[in-house]
Symmetry: C2
Subunit: 407 residues, 2 copies
């Protein structure tokens, strides 16, 4: 059994690879062209993205900056880059990282074969990092591959689950309004403390929203705003939409975002991200069977039982020729190590069935009480097998690869 990332274009690379969830790529691209008012024969809207990734993640409670924290052995920022990369109409992605993390970032780009990425040095605050990213896009530097976009997306390195549809919405709204940003309802009431640490006032929750990412801007608007803004803004400000409003009188359009846009901030968010990624990538299994041809129906019975438990797609059934004995099954540990490199998790599962081709040594251990009512035993074993498979898929436990489990 294996669980492989669907639609992965990089099978030789380690680490999970998320595919788009809503299959909106083509439709989105088409409507972007239309929203941008382009016609056949004219240039499409030029869009770039800036990702500030210079934070040190002090809220995470771990020494590694959160954007570099591994999730299933792959750094968080790599998932975010992947989410942006798969949107074909984003031409350039500028990532701002601190000098000390520059080499780490380069190795991530190389290892996961990220494309269309340019690196700039981060500033000491988020706003300064974004400004550096914008400068790289604005200036016609010699040898620079970058050119000034019409619209620039600003996103966070720690929001890996951004989908194309919300990117499209903010870009389209930015084209029309000059600025746009994703918002979400507030989860907690917001209050203002007085100087003595007591409640001064509380805000009506329904009248306020959390400003999330992505945001998008006409490049000239946001670049102008950053050039005009004060050192105080650059040091203490947190809101790009506010800069556009304050310095360019541009009222941003607010776009309702999905819960998936949340920012990975605390350790619990890493747990949540890991579970979501596991859920997304473990959607296909391949069952390799070591059985006689005429017992192929056991595979189909298993598929039936599993379908009621899991929302997975069966990739394939393969029958191993009966000439290959159980000795070979013990080799699954070696084979499992090998295919893990390609992010395939392989486990062995023994379904107890008297007609199965089992070598005597294991058969003895497994089906010794096998006396009557074979069909009921088989059903029980299949159910147990389904529970084991469901657990393995849910947990995506790479520590157990190559084990022979008994249903």
């Amino acid at each position: 059994m294996e669980a492989a990332p669907p639609g992965s274009s990089r099978p030789t690379e380690p680490g999970p690879c998320l595919s788009g969830q809503r299959g909106a790529d083509h439709a989105a691209s088409a409507s972007l062209q239309s929203a941008a008012g382009t016609e056949p024969g004219r240039h499409p809207l030029a869009v770039a993205a800036v990702l500030p990734a210079g934070g040190c993640g002090e809220r995470m409670g771990v020494p590694t900056p959160k954007q570099f924290c591994p999730i299933l052995e792959r750094p968080l920022i790599s998932y975010t880059l992947q989410a942006l990369e798969r949107v074909c109409w984003i031409k350039d992605i500028v990532v701002a990282v601190t000098g000390e993390n520059m080499e780490v970032m380069k190795s991530i780009i190389q290892k996961y074969q990220h494309k269309r990425i340019s690196l700039v040095e981060a500033g000491v605050t988020r706003h300064r990092s974004i400004f550096n990213g914008l400068k790289a896009l604005a200036e016609d530097q010699i040898n620079s591959k970058l050119s000034k976009p019409e619209v620039v997306i600003i996103h966070d390195a720690v929001r890996p689950f951004v989908e194309e549809d919300v990117l499209l919405k903010v870009v389209t709204a930015a084209k029309e309004h000059g600025a746009a940003g994703a918002i979400r309802p507030l989860v907690s009431t917001v209050i203002s403390p007085s100087a003595d640490g007591c409640l001064d006032y509380s805000l009506e929750r329904a009248r306020h929203r959390a400003s999330e990412m992505p945001q998008a801007f006409l490049f000239d608007v946001i670049y102008e705003a950053y050039q005009q803004c004060s050192d105080y803004d650059l040091e203490f400000g947190t809101e790009c939409l506010q800069l556009a409003l304050k310095y360019c009188c541009t009222k941003a359009k607010l776009v309702e975002g999905s819960p998936d846009l949340w920012k990975v901030t605390y350790k619990r968010d890493l747990y949540a991200a890991e579970s979501i990624i596991k859920e997304r990538i473990s959607q296909e299994i391949c069952v390799v069977m070591d059985t006689k041809e005429d017992n192929k129906h056991i595979g189909h019975l298993l598929e039936e039982v599993l379908k009621s438990e899991l929302n997975v797609h069966f990739l394939d059934f393969k029958l191993v020729p009966p000439s290959q004995k159980m000795e070979n099954l013990m080799k699954i540990r070696e084979f499992a190590k090998e295919v893990k490199e390609r992010n395939i998790l392989l486990y062995g599962l023994l379904i107890s069935y008297p007609q199965c081709l089992l070598p005597s040594t294991l058969e003895k251990l497994v089906i010794s009480p096998w006396t009557s009512n074979d069909d009921q035993k088989l059903q029980e074993s299949l159910r147990q097998g389904a529970i084991i498979i469901a657990s393995l898929i849910k947990e995506r436990n790479s520590g157990l690869i190559g084990q022979l489990l008994i249903a």
Copy 2:
């Protein structure tokens, strides 16, 4: 190997049981007496808690109200009740649930043997539910076990990780100031939209806080506030501290809370909660060894390797007499099912070591290439065993109990 909840006082009950993380019970109780100005011979401060649990969890995207969603097969609200129950100075816990969930709640209380719980009917809004809880504490109803407390804690059913220290802080501050609540820094900037869905203004993040739970009040203050407040407040209000301010001129003291106080709101929060609970309960393992007495040192070697990988406490080593043959090991599946009822997850692990007491059938499979350099092989097997144990502890995968894993 098993992973059992430490300090569980209910070993016969299914479902995990969280123990206090900071061991602050005694110290906290002592300082509460002191903070409340009580002296020996006088009555300690009377504290009760009200938990509104009438929400329908529409943000979760699942049909079950979030407070009843299972985490490791136990409903979320049961963890929260447990967190309050283990604080010995909270005398009564009043839970407000809707009529349709009343029976569900009663069965949870029975199954997990919750104590000091009284149920009242929830209102249609959070404020109305809290008000119902306060009324139950205020009125001297015939046959009521409840008596009016001096201080009342208000907490959410969906914040299971509340610790005694923050409860103590808000109660102590409420005793002094009349009202107190936990706060957290804002994760996102808060904005106000204009009627046309554009940005009206954004708030300075550093000057605002998220108001979280728990909160605490002098009972007379908050009860008075609820009795005075308008229907509009009861329908649309979200902030108890605001009611105390508006109707009783009581300025709540704000207490910095820990990140653990967050509210389980979205599906991702369930994932995070599950991971945190797994991490907390899987802190002890017991290694049962089937080996000769003179190979006991393998167990200690394994412990050494594990200690470097895991932050777990070794509960015990047990040697199974060598007379029990490997046939018995196959019975671990039956035994595993049995002990799972007591929330003990049992797995088998075979460490490859030539002097181990292995029955020939499995020995053949496992150590066939065993020719030279036994010590290196053993080390490798121990390392592999540690990886497997670490995976099992982290994932707490009940679907794999009773399996014999090979290191």
